[in-house]
Amino acid sequence: MMLTILAFVIWAAAWALNVRLARLPQRWVRLAVPLIFGATLLVVWELLVRGAGVSAVILPPPSAIASTFVRVFPTLWQDTVQTVFKGALSGYVIGCAAAFCVALLADRFDVLRRGLLPVGSFLSALPIVGTAPIFVMWFGFGWQSKAAVVVAMVFFPLLVNTVAGLRDTTVQQRDLMFTYAASYWETLFKLRLPAALPFIFNGLKVSTTLALIGAIVAEFFGSPTQGLGFRIDASRGRLALDVVWSAILMSAFAGSLFYGAVALLERALTFWHPSQRK
């Protein structure tokens, strides 16, 4: 009970601190405030779990998860290599590359653009719970089937965004190229691709999380004895919830890094876009 009350007190105190900090103009505030917020969440979790005496097989406290995370890190790293690098990343690269090429085709051929986009949005609504077993059946239980699931998941978001981006030039920008009697390829490389980059990056960012979801779900339907999805399932059978949460933590890390890397690349390549300035 004491701990529970303490949890609420700490929550209130940290929030008050953040309200103060948020008024300051300094740059470090942008980092400090979310960190304090996150730390508060963890402390409150810890105190509530201990205060209410929640069983470790229901919800372990963050401190236990942290120490387990350190202990099982080597295993989790192997799992991450399997799920994230082999499954998600390769599927991401293949899927995005394929989507990009098809987007160029769809952009060039009107029939494809008008036809593929509606059909594409229909296909992208195919739930992964149904497609994953089919891909596992087709491509085996190794990372290839995971990559295939990921390809299917990231393909359409990127396709739609790229096609939209390639069309997102102003009449004047296009007319300018026209007055130079520029060829299709010149217009593509000097105008439409740069102009499409912000859209492409939107698609790429959305796809990072889809890729991770895809790779992990697909492991449910058959996998080697490695991978984050496998670890979560196998550890849950033993009620090793600290390992389960460590694996979740690992996937959150991987996901955030993945997303962050794409966001950094976006910043570097679309520095000129109003949304990236200021």
Binding site: W15, L21, L59, R114, F122, A125, F220, G229, I248
Partner: protein, 323 residues
């Protein structure tokens, strides 16, 4: 080009693409299923080349097709095909969505309630979860967005974590959510809806923050020259301004809620719902059943997005828009 010409062209293009896809699909059925088809033929005593499964294992699908052209029709009639033919899927869809209710022992006509073996019941169950999750996600998303727009602390503290929350695969988290809620005594529809909401609140949050911040300085200053209250400028300026953004993100959110609803059926050992149906199909290797459920889910997504789109148009018209 006029509007109707444009529509005709769009429809024709879609039909072209669909036709091409069906063609590729139909052609792919042959190599995909040839191994199984030949094994089946062999068991039934029909002569195939090469003669035994062991010899065929290494051969490519194409060479098997070429060696056994007479057996091609068999690939379209596999009970557990690797790739069912379009006709098989449509037939199964018809059987489980319509015929089951009309003729089935447990169907609507004979039993007075929807058959568990049919698609309708499962679809309804998924719709239920999706809609509740969608509503929950939309409300949470809008509420957070309002907080973020009006309180800098919320903006700084919550936004990064909202992004991180979406990098955690929901499938990993879903069983934990179910577990924790069930230990709090909450089971059934609510945990599933929460999982669905987890995937649908984020697009709403992002879109709504963008939308609520869409008024430019001038429009906000106009409100200040009237010395309008915060509430007044919310209802009279920010909210109407955010509507197009809201609807754009609601379309993504409802599709997300559907994915979440289906994933949630995995984690809650649901016995009803399209996700449960697909899972069951996969327990028993009923590929065709999975495909039919997939078709139902995609149709459902299309319909739900279309409904949100229609609502969008209605609101737009009410707000004096052109279209």
């Amino acid at each position: 080009m006029t509007r109707s010409q444009n529509i005709v062209r769009n429809v024709l293009s879609v039909l072209t693409v669909v036709a091409a896809m069906l063609l590729i699909w139909t052609a792919a059925v042959i190599p995909m299923n040839i191994h199984e088809a030949l094994t089946q033929a062999e068991r039934e005593g029909i002569a195939v080349t090469p003669a035994t499964a062991a010899e065929r294992r290494g051969s490519s699908a194409l060479s098997l097709v070429l060696a056994n052209p007479a057996l091609i029709p068999l690939t379209y009639a596999q009970p557990r095909p690797k790739l069912p033919s379009p006709a098989q899927v449509v037939l199964e869809f018809y059987d489980s969505a319509i015929a089951e209710e009309l003729d089935g022992r447990r169907g609507l006509v004979r039993s007075g309630s929807l058959s568990p073996a049919g698609l309708a019941l499962h679809t309804l169950k998924t719709i239920e979860t999706t809609l509740l999750g969608f509503a929950l996600g939309a409300v949470v998303g809008v509420a957070l967005a309002v907080g973020i727009v009006y309180a800098r602390t919320m903006d700084l503290a919550v936004m990064p974590w909202a992004i991180i929350s979406q990098t955690i695969p929901i499938v990993a988290l879903a069983p934990m959510i179910v577990l924790i809620l069930s230990s709090l005594g909450v089971t059934g529809l609510v945990p599933r809806a929460i999982i669905a909401a987890y995937l649908s609140f984020f697009p709403v949050l992002v879109g709504m923050v963008k939308g609520l911040r869409a008024p430019d300085h001038m429009q906000l200053d106009l409100m200040r020259t009237y010395s309008a209250t915060k509430a007044q400028s919310f209802w009279m300026l920010r909210l109407p301004m955010a509507m197009p953004y809201l609807f754009a993100s609601l379309k993504i959110a409802i599709a997300g809620a559907l994915v979440g609803a289906i994933v949630s059926e995995l984690s809650t050992s649901s016995t009803q719902g399209l996700g449960a149906r697909m899972l069951q199909g996969s327990y028993y290797g009923q590929t065709v059943q999975i495909w039919a459920a997939l078709l139902a889910a995609a149709l459902l997504a299309a319909v739900m997005v279309a409904v949100v789109g229609a609502a969008d148009r209605v609101v737009r018209r009410m707000m004096g828009g052109l279209a």
